[in-house]
């Protein structure tokens, strides 16, 4: 693999995002709304209105937590005495996870749909294919260009989320209550692996279709919903131990490797030229 070329391609693609305000601003605003605004609103809502909630509304979720006293939840749950404390702890640690899957998947989908189809639309794919860069390095550069921003955006959003949620909940807890240790393998393994899955599928689609619009439509209407559905279920394992979350992450990573091998087998310079260069 030509590492210098991989980084050059990734850097160039990332520069095309950071150099265009209309592209990067929505990429930051939406994650901030979903990953910081929404959790903060939830915590503040429960903090100032949780105690007055009708028990019937919260009964089901509280009973569910009582029965699922495993892992960290099992240790912390009995120490929580107030309703608002319980609601904040549960919602922060168990309801937010799907949001942190949506964020990298959205970011990754936009960038990766543009990867090859965008080059074609700008008339630069031909020059790129004339360069002495093997297809593996070209593909890796494109994947990296989507992977790095997706993971960085989700990690930064997560840190801001943790900071704001803990600050908002501090008067009730007087300690860091979010995230649980289970979130570490989720953020550092599961989410990058799921993002990579979306990127691999989208970059492959982008290499096969003619335009960014076609790539984005296919990626957004077929790949993204399936991944969100699967990933949404996967976050359910957060109630179990960190070990289970790690295993889930490793399984997704293994699927990534298999998919990567398949993609590389079906990607060649001739085919890219034939399908995309006019």
């Amino acid at each position: 693999m030509n590492r210098r070329a991989v980084w050059a391609i990734a850097r160039k693609d990332i520069q095309s995002i950071t150099g265009n305000l209309q592209v990067w601003l929505p990429m930051l605003i939406v994650p901030l709304l979903l990953g910081v605004g929404l959790p903060l609103g939830l915590v503040l809502g429960f903090r100032f209105g949780g105690q007055s909630l009708w028990t019937g509304n919260t009964q089901v979720i509280l009973e569910w937590a009582d029965k699922l006293a495993v892992g960290e939840l099992g240790t912390v749950w009995p120490t929580l005495t107030r309703l608002d404390q319980k609601l904040i702890y549960l919602s922060a640690n168990y309801l937010l996870a799907p949001l942190f899957l949506i964020i990298p998947l959205m970011t990754a989908s936009v960038i990766s749909a543009d990867s090859f189809a965008g080059e074609k639309e700008r008339g630069t794919l031909e020059t790129l294919l004339f360069a002495p860069v093997d297809m593996w390095s070209l593909f890796a550069g494109k994947v990296l260009a989507a992977f790095v921003p997706a993971v960085v955006v989700s990690l930064v959003t997560f840190l801001l989320c943790a900071l704001s949620v803990n600050l908002a909940a501090w008067p009730l807890f007087h300690r860091i209550m979010f995230p649980q240790v289970n979130w570490l393998p989720l953020m550092l393994l599961v989410i990058p692996a799921v993002s990579l899955l979306a990127i691999l599928a989208n970059v492959f689609i982008s290499a096969r279709v003619a335009t960014f619009q076609a790539a984005y439509q296919l990626g957004g209407t077929v790949v993204l919903p399936i991944l969100l559905l699967v990933a949404g279920q996967v976050t359910g394992v957060l109630v179990l131990s960190a070990m289970v979350v790690t295993v889930v992450g490793l399984v997704v990573a293994a699927i990534d490797v298999l998919l990567l091998r398949q993609v590389l087998r079906h990607l060649n310079r001739n085919q890219l030229f034939a399908s995309q260069v006019r």
């Binding site: 391609i9 160039k12 520069q15 150099g19 700008r122 004339f130």
Partner: protein, 308 residues
């Protein structure tokens, strides 16, 4: 014993179809190391496809290709490492500056000379706009940057698709002079696809005429002229009055006031004609009319159409 050197580029009986539409049929030609060759042909004659095949970015349906001893189908990377390509659209990134574009391609081509990009920017008159985004460049500036990009890694062979399209007269001269210098200094082999025949004539050693996906004629200007215009035309400014379209048996015609064109079998007849003319009339000027590439192009095209 004289051993004939193997050509640098060899194309033998190559054919290529796109969706059952034949683009190249039985294409064969060769180019020696250090030659500047013009690839001439109407739109759709297969010029761009030929460049793509030579670089291994597409594969032929039949036939063999060799560039610098490598088969582009098998050793595409090796061929692409030694080739510099300027595509018709220049293929630059509009959101990057001129300097960033060159640095990006320097990374792709593994160029390790830190000053190479700046030297080329200066050489092609782009130093002052090096930090401006390429999206704001004029067509001519993009074209010059595209050529600089193709030269970054000091390629052994250059493939230039319409290198002077969109350039102003200064730009055209700069680019053509540079190609000639590069060829003389480094022995770079150059294949130029162009419609601008007058410009090709200023740099090319030899020409390949492509029509219907195959080479229908090739050679240097002198060779082509000898084949297609065997006679010599001498244009003379004189007060001679022609009576019946000939002068002492030499075909002649009035081409303007006081200007007569004589058609001779070859140049050896020129001195005798001039001796006789100066004895019988006043002669102010006599110039052999050189056949230009454009005239040849149309003559070859007519010949090809007649053959079909």
């Amino acid at each position: 014993m004289h051993v004939k050197r193997k050509p640098f580029i060899e194309v033998n009986h190559v054919s290529k179809k796109f969706s059952e539409r034949p683009v190249l049929r039985d294409l064969s030609f060769s180019i020696d190391r250090g030659e500047i060759v013009g690839l001439i042909g109407p739109n759709g004659s297969g010029k761009t496809t030929t460049v793509r095949l030579l670089n291994g970015v597409i594969s032929p349906d039949a036939g063999d290709i060799s560039v610098g001893g490598y088969d582009p189908r098998i050793d595409g990377e090796a061929v692409r490492r030694m080739s510099g390509v300027l595509t018709e659209s220049a293929g630059l990134y509009p959101h990057l500056t001129g300097r960033q574009n060159l640095r990006f391609f320097a990374d792709l081509y593994g160029v390790d000379e830190p000053d190479r990009a700046d030297a080329l920017l200066a050489e092609f008159g782009l130093a002052e706009v090096a930090d401006r985004k390429v999206g704001t460049y004029s067509t001519g500036m993009k074209k010059r940057l595209g050529i600089a990009k193709a030269l970054l890694h000091r390629p052994a062979v250059l493939f230039l698709d319409e290198p002077t399209n969109g350039l102003d007269p200064e730009g055209i001269r700069m680019v053509l002079d540079y190609i000639r210098q590069l060829n003389e200094r480094d022995g770079t082999t150059v294949l130029i696809c162009s419609h601008l025949l007058q410009q090709l004539q200023r740099v090319c050693h030899r020409y390949l005429f492509l029509h219907g996906g195959k080479v229908v004629e090739q050679g240097s200007l002198a060779e082509l002229e000898a084949r297609h215009f065997p006679g010599v035309t001498l244009e003379v400014e004189t007060d001679l009055v022609l009576s019946d379209g000939q002068y002492h048996g030499i075909p002649a015609r009035q081409v303007g006031p006081g200007r007569i064109a004589f058609t001779l079998p070859d140049r050896s007849h020129i001195p005798r004609l001039l001796r006789r003319l100066t004895q019988e009339a006043a002669v102010y000027r006599a110039v052999p009319v050189e056949c230009d590439l454009e005239t040849l192009y149309f003559r070859i095209k007519e010949g090809t159409a007649a053959d079909e």
